[in-house]
């Protein structure tokens, strides 16, 4: 018992420091690791002089302005669209039964990995894809149209794939932020004063919601402007987005291109920071310009039109999802599929049977890495939150922001630096380095998923348990953990889902030696058989879905008084 208490004391003393070290050190170390080569210092390649050659080389790259423009427009427009649609849907359904519908539609979508979303979007948009086949029904096309989708030069395909991933994320974050019942009552109060639903939402709920949504929006913007796997699958190749170009330069056989790649990574960081700054300025400007409208007394801004539009958007998003997922399933089993038929001429399982022998190792690797990274993240999160409660001192604004650091700083800007640091420290790339890098990206999600529930746990439970003679460690293990069992499992499932979807960290910190379903799917998507790609994409999606199902099932199985398991346990105790 004393050992347990000592372990608890040690854990809550050390965990917050470990958590912040795990978040800050790789990001800062990685940034230094790209900044030095960007300015010519990379002793392993024989360069120990500070110079601007890498930058000169970068500026001379053909198509650099187009790369930057494509990165910025696809990232900003997809985020803006996702935010506007998210707010419109929330405004039209907040406080009604429709909120449950939104939760049911968007929660499972959170589990879809980015690469799967991109592959599904590619299948949908391609000239012989589902969209074209549905159009063919109306127009009578007999041959696929001559359009340049996906991989279009403007980045429409990237934007749509990003939108498909960003909308569920923003929606779930908003639903969590709106759990506060006071805001709902204020919204109802505004309606009782004659405000129509959407106007009441914009004037009362949105000003309170947006500050809580700011960091998730910044994370979405940062990811949108610097993502690799989506741009690699559905983006153009000549020129690609800046992030994709950086990966190509880093992987070039000419190692001296690493200098230019490092300069590119620094430029990518500058681009993201500029976008975030511009967004922040736009926020201020809008708040200043629209602030006076809040109390002007106007009760409606064509609410009925917006209401209809939101139903239309919900229908379109639903249809896109059904077609995208349906397309993946059909392609994974398609035999010969002539255009413009909506279903293949024959269905067969041969693609699955071909793929299965090759997926064992990537599957095993993905599961081991995900469980190790998520387990570590969960332990650190629980101990940090417990430390916060024991000390009765909430985390500062700075600490809360640091938790978002790996999501706000583009991975491409620091991961190459992390690899360089690995080399400098003599750490061999492999399973350990991949697990560590995954933890970096899993940790913020696990923390955000669990923090709300942990902090809202009624402190009187702990007081009652303490008054019954339980030590703080025992209260933590025997009272808090069982009470928070379901949110803990869901946070773990979210961590697993995030880890399963990681591409760049797996590729770079594992030096290509740790193959997972995601790395295989992305590699295949660039030129592999469409049917095989569909099998990998579905398998990639199946893993996080299984994690969430398991979490729901286990949360119903344990710590539920009155269930079979519990009553058996009681009998055993007697």
């Amino acid at each position: 018992m004393k050992l347990g208490q000592s372990l608890y004391d040690w854990g809550i003393r050390v965990a917050p420091w470990l958590l912040f070290a795990l978040l800050v050190l790789p990001v800062l170390g990685g940034l230094i690791g790209v900044l030095l080569p960007a300015f010519g210092w990379l002793p392993t390649l024989g360069s120990q002089q500070v110079n601007l050659l890498a930058w000169q080389q970068l500026w001379q790259q053909p198509g650099l302005p187009q790369m930057v423009t494509l990165s910025v427009t696809s990232g900003v427009l997809s985020s803006l669209l996702a935010l506007l649609v998210c707010l419109l849907l929330l405004g039209c359904f907040y406080g009604s039964r429709g909120m449950m519908l939104l939760q049911r539609i968007f929660s499972p979508l959170l589990a879809i990995p980015h690469a799967t979303a991109a592959i599904a979007m590619a299948f949908l948009l391609t000239p012989s894809g589902f969209f074209s086949r549905v159009f063919a029904l109306l127009t009578g096309w007999q041959t696929p149209p001559d359009w340049l989708l996906p991989n279009d030069a403007v980045g429409v395909s990237i934007m749509l794939a990003l939108f498909l991933k960003e909308l569920p994320f923003l929606m779930i974050m908003s639903l969590a932020a709106l759990a506060n019942s006071t805001v709902l009552t204020q919204f109802q109060l505004a309606q009782s004063m004659g405000y129509q639903r959407l106007t009441a939402f914009c004037k009362v709920v949105l000003p309170q919601l947006y500050p809580k949504l700011r960091l998730p929006i910044y994370a979405v913007l940062a990811y949108g402007c610097a993502n690799v796997e989506i741009a690699q699958i559905v983006g153009p190749s000549g020129p690609p987005t800046l992030a994709v170009a950086i990966v190509q330069w880093f992987n070039d056989v000419d190692l001296h291109r690493r200098f230019m790649a490092s300069a590119g990574a620094v430029l990518q960081l500058a681009v993201v920071l500029s976008v975030l700054l511009a967004w922040w300025c736009a926020e201020r400007l809008l708040a200043w310009g629209l602030g006076r409208l809040l109390s002007n007394g106007r009760r409606s801004y064509a609410d009925a039109v917006w209401q209809r539009l939101s139903w239309l958007i919900l229908g379109l998003v639903g249809l896109t999802l059904v077609l995208a997922m349906g397309g993946l399933i059909l392609w994974s089993m398609a035999g010969y599929w002539s255009y413009p038929d909506l279903v293949p001429d024959t269905l067969q399982l041969s693609h699955w049977l071909t793929a299965l022998p090759f997926i064992r190792l990537p599957l095993l690797n993905a599961v081991v890495v995900a469980f190790a990274a998520s387990g570590l993240a969960l332990l650190l999160t629980l101990a940090t939150l417990e430390a916060e409660q024991v000390r009765q001192k909430p985390l500062s604004w700075l600490s809360q922001s640091i938790i978002y650091l790996p999501l706000l700083v583009p991975a491409i800007a620091f991961l190459f630096g992390v690899v360089w640091l690995q080399e400098q420290l003599g750490i061999a790339p492999g399973m350990g380095t991949v697990i560590a890098s995954h933890s970096l990206f899993v940790l913020p999600y696990v923390f955000l998923a669990l923090a709300g529930n942990y902090r809202l746990l009624d402190p009187r439970w702990a007081s009652v348990a303490a008054s019954l003679g339980l030590s703080p460690g025992a209260v933590f293990v025997r009272v808090k953990l069982p009470l928070l069992f379901k949110p803990i499992l869901l946070a773990l499932a979210l961590g697993l889902a995030v880890s399963f979807g990681q591409y760049l960290p797996t590729l770079l910190t594992g030096a290509g030696r740790v193959a997972t379903l995601t790395t295989e799917a992305v590699a295949l998507a660039n030129g592999g058989s469409r049917r095989l790609v569909a099998v990998y994409a579905l398998l990639q999606m199946l893993l996080p879905a299984l994690a969430f199902l398991l979490a729901y099932w286990c949360s119903k199985l344990f710590f539920q008084p009155g269930t079979k398991t519990q009553s058996n346990a009681s009998v055993a105790v007697k």
Partner: protein, 217 residues
């Protein structure tokens, strides 16, 4: 202010198919009908039904007639039912004056709007609080601003859900007088739910749900 009568006809309120409350009554202009009863007897659900904000787990049949007009199926924003709740629920993103302006009709503009807000604040002794953050006000001050907000929305009826329960005894008396005076002056019907006998206005009618339930049994 509009004057009129609030009629509740043949209300049958249920929670998950379990009957909760039956009521038919009429509240005249300037009158306060008090509904008392233990927790879970359906007091707040009655107000939610009247304001069009009944939670999905409840169901209700019956008719609401306000000022001669059937408003049973109107959305909340078209009912003109003012709400005064246990908590003042001032909007935290607006200052005191903006909270009041929020409730005023759009037709009142510019200087007239400002003047009405200042006059209203002055009438409750809060003239110098117009630009303050609502969170910086005391409980009693917040309650008065909430009342001003509902007054200037010009409701046709007022629904009061234990609005005095969180105030200390001195403030309670003061805010109670303000509210009942407003109802008298505006000549609107009001329905007050409470479980405190002391909140019942001397001249008003009282329905005790506990007694109704006992009589039914």
């Amino acid at each position: 202010m509009n004057s009129g009568t609030l009629q509740i006809n043949a209300l049958q309120l249920s929670r998950q198919q379990q009957p909760l409350l039956s009521l038919s009554t009429e509240i005249h202009a300037g009158e306060v009908l008090t509904v008392m009863g233990p927790s879970g007897s359906g007091k707040s659900s009655l107000l939610n039904w009247l304001s069009g904000l009944l939670a999905p787990q409840f169901s209700a049949s019956g008719q609401i007639v306000l000022d001669g007009k059937d408003i049973t199926h109107l959305p909340p924003h078209q009912r003109h039912m003012g709400l005064l709740l246990q908590d003042p629920l001032l909007f935290p993103h607006l200052n005191v004056a903006e909270n009041i302006a929020f409730a005023m009709p759009k037709a009142i503009k510019g200087a007239q709007r400002q003047a009405q807000i200042l006059a209203a604040l002055d009438s409750v002794g809060l003239a110098d609080m117009a630009l303050r953050n609502p969170a910086s006000l005391s409980g009693g001050q917040q309650a008065r601003v909430a009342l001003l907000r509902v007054m200037l929305a010009q409701p046709k009826a007022l629904l009061l859900d234990e609005p005095f329960s969180k105030l200390d005894s001195r403030l309670r008396q003061e805010v109670r007088e303000l509210v009942f005076n407003f109802i008298q002056q505006a000549k609107i019907p009001a329905l007050l739910v409470t479980h405190d006998q002391a909140d019942v206005p001397a001249a008003g009618r009282l329905i005790n749900l506990a007694e109704m339930e006992a009589a039914t049994c």
